[in-house]
């Protein structure tokens, strides 16, 4: 890999880390995990359930918010502020810029998730006083959450490569919501007829599929997950990310920087 990708990624990471908004969001997520302890105490016997459900939901939601709010500005803000001029007038290929930005943001989210996960496990330890074997499922759920972040990052980046931050945020958030109902969307498509069915199916397969990546309740209920699902979800997330990034590269490669 070209060293420039790593350098751009490192700088993107540095930018995110120096942003105060990030810390507010992480603090919020940790607060929510902590609050789970109290909610758990109110409803007897389901402390673990509440801590895992609420904690992982907080990690997922705040991560998505961070991914979208950092992701949407990655390219468009650099164009708007003209910081890109002095970068692209160096031996940096445009695709390297996109890929570097993606890795920077993905890295930021992995680190964030790590800290938020510590919060969840801390809360879990507080209520259970020990870790048991089914807690490994929480790690799987967290892994899927990170996969979800990768997809959202790449989508935010894709939108950022051709539209304004506000529009990108709207697009990315809508896709997040639609993607959470992806399976139902494919169901809808199955009920349609003729040309509509054709279009609906195409759209249903094109939106990101987050339903299979959400295993929070399974983890909370200690239901085992098949290794098949883990493998397929991983591959799916990687291919989807590659697809969105290729799209971003194709658009950005052609863009005139006003």
């Amino acid at each position: 890999m070209s060293p420039r990708i790593i350098q751009i990624a490192a700088n993107t990471f540095r930018e995110a880390v120096r942003d105060r908004v990030l810390y507010n969001l992480i603090a919020f997520a940790l607060l929510l995990s902590g609050a789970a302890i109290f909610v758990g105490q109110i409803s007897i016997d389901i402390e673990r359930l509440v801590v895992v459900d609420l904690g992982l939901t907080a990690v997922s939601l705040f991560g998505v918010v961070i991914a979208i709010f950092i992701g949407i500005g990655l390219v468009s803000k650099e164009i708007e502020k003209r910081t890109l001029y002095t970068v692209l007038s160096r031996p940096v290929r445009r695709w390297e810029f996109i890929v570097g930005k993606f890795f920077g943001l993905a890295g930021t989210l992995v680190v964030n998730t790590f800290f938020m996960a510590i919060g969840v496990f801390g809360a879990l330890f507080y209520v259970a006083h020990k870790f048991s074997k089914p807690d490994a499922l929480i790690l799987v759920a967290l892994y899927f959450i990170v996969l979800e972040f990768l997809i959202i990052c790449s989508l935010a980046l894709l939108f950022s490569s051709f539209s304004s931050p506000l529009l990108s945020a709207v697009f990315a958030f809508s896709l997040f919501v639609i993607g959470s109902f992806a399976e139902d969307l494919r169901g809808f498509a199955g009920l349609a007829h003729g040309v509509t069915r054709w279009f609906a199916t195409a759209a249903a397969y094109l939106v990101p599929n987050f339903s299979a990546l959400n295993v929070i309740s399974a983890a909370a209920h200690e239901q085992p997950l098949s290794s098949q699902l883990i493998l397929h979800n991983t591959l799916y997330a990687l291919f989807y990310t590659a697809m969105a990034l290729s799209g971003a590269v194709l658009i950005f490669e052609r863009r005139n920087l006003k």
Binding site: L206, N209, S211, S217, A242, V249
Partner: protein
């Protein structure tokens, strides 16, 4: 692979476009596989919360959309179970109840409930009481829709054989403005000819013609096909009896029977296969599995297979 002479931008374009196409195909294939390995998980997730009121609250005012989602899930659930020839439809009632609580005006959900909630397994969920409850809920919210009365009367007629109740409901329905004229005929028919093939056929034909839902229409077609078999077997069996009374023996074959009864040709079932005659003089249908709802013409001890819609006789 990529010509070296190509300038950088073109090469990036080619590679990125290729990468995008490959990824897209991979994504679709993986999704299909993921859907295969977790169809059960989906419906379990969907019913993780199964209090309709709770779901209505949680949908934050988007209950119309949620109703559509649950309706899709219902149809999918039924389709999957049907495809798998499963014998039970335990989640059908809760799914329909959630759907109609979210949107009480979703007429297809009631039609669906009447058609598939009431019949005994394997044809349906075997919960006529819940079906009736669902229909009355629907009528309460949509008192001016005659279809709902029709569907409810239908449940009373076919599943509970409660002809008095059925007549009552058809009567109620016929008073709705713009009700189809056959509602009145139906009410009268219930009193006079309850249990007739003709009445049944009329009912199923009406179902077929008034519904837009594929599953329901297919179901009506299956019933109509089975009804014809039942009618044919009944009349052929009567001819066998006549033959016996006249000759003192059983006909050796169906063609002998046909010739003796002056039938124009050897009688065939709706699939075009001739009916058969057992050694004991019983009229049989060639492939009983193709007619899931027949009550006659099956060999002794025959266990009906779960119904599966036939594409060859659609529409």
């Amino acid at each position: 692979m990529i010509p070296r002479k190509m300038n950088g931008r073109k090469r990036t374009t080619v590679i990125a476009a290729g990468c995008m196409a490959v990824s897209l195909v991979a994504c679709v294939l993986l999704l299909r596989h993921i859907d295969e390995i977790r169809p059960k998980a989906t419906i379990e997730d969907a019913l993780y919360v199964n209090s309709p009121k709770m779901i209505k609250r949680a949908s934050l005012g988007f209950d119309g959309l949620m109703a559509c989602i649950y309706w899709t899930r219902t149809v999918q659930y039924f389709g999957h179970r049907h495809y798998d020839r499963a014998h039970t439809y335990n989640e059908l009632a809760p799914l329909l109840e959630i759907t109609t609580t979210l949107d009480p005006y979703m007429i297809p959900a009631y039609e669906f409930g009447a058609s598939f909630l009431a019949p005994k397994p394997p044809g349906g969920a075997g919960e006529p009481a819940r079906a009736i409850h669902l229909m009355e809920y629907g009528i309460a919210h949509n008192p001016d829709n005659w279809h709902l009365y029709y569907d409810l009367g239908f449940v009373y007629y076919t599943e509970l054989k409660d002809y008095r109740k059925a007549a009552e409901v058809f009567e109620r329905g016929s008073k709705v403005p713009d009700a189809h004229p056959f509602m009145k005929i139906m009410a009268a028919q219930m009193a006079l000819h309850a249990g007739d093939f003709a009445t049944s056929r009329m009912l199923w034909s009406a179902t077929y013609e008034s519904s837009h839902e594929t599953n329901i229409r297919q179901n009506a077609i299956e019933h109509l096909r089975s009804l014809r078999v039942d009618e044919d077997v009944t009349s052929l069996q009567a001819l066998v009896t006549q033959f016996g009374e006249r000759t003192g023996r059983l006909p050796a074959s169906i063609s002998e029977l046909a010739a003796a009864a002056h039938l124009r040709a050897v009688p065939v079932d709706p699939d075009g296969n001739p009916y058969q005659l057992s050694a004991k003089g019983q009229v049989l249908v060639q492939n009983p599995d193709d007619f899931p709802f027949i009550t006659k013409g099956t060999p002794p001890g025959y266990i009906p297979a779960p119904p599966k819609f036939h594409t060859k006789s659609s529409d």
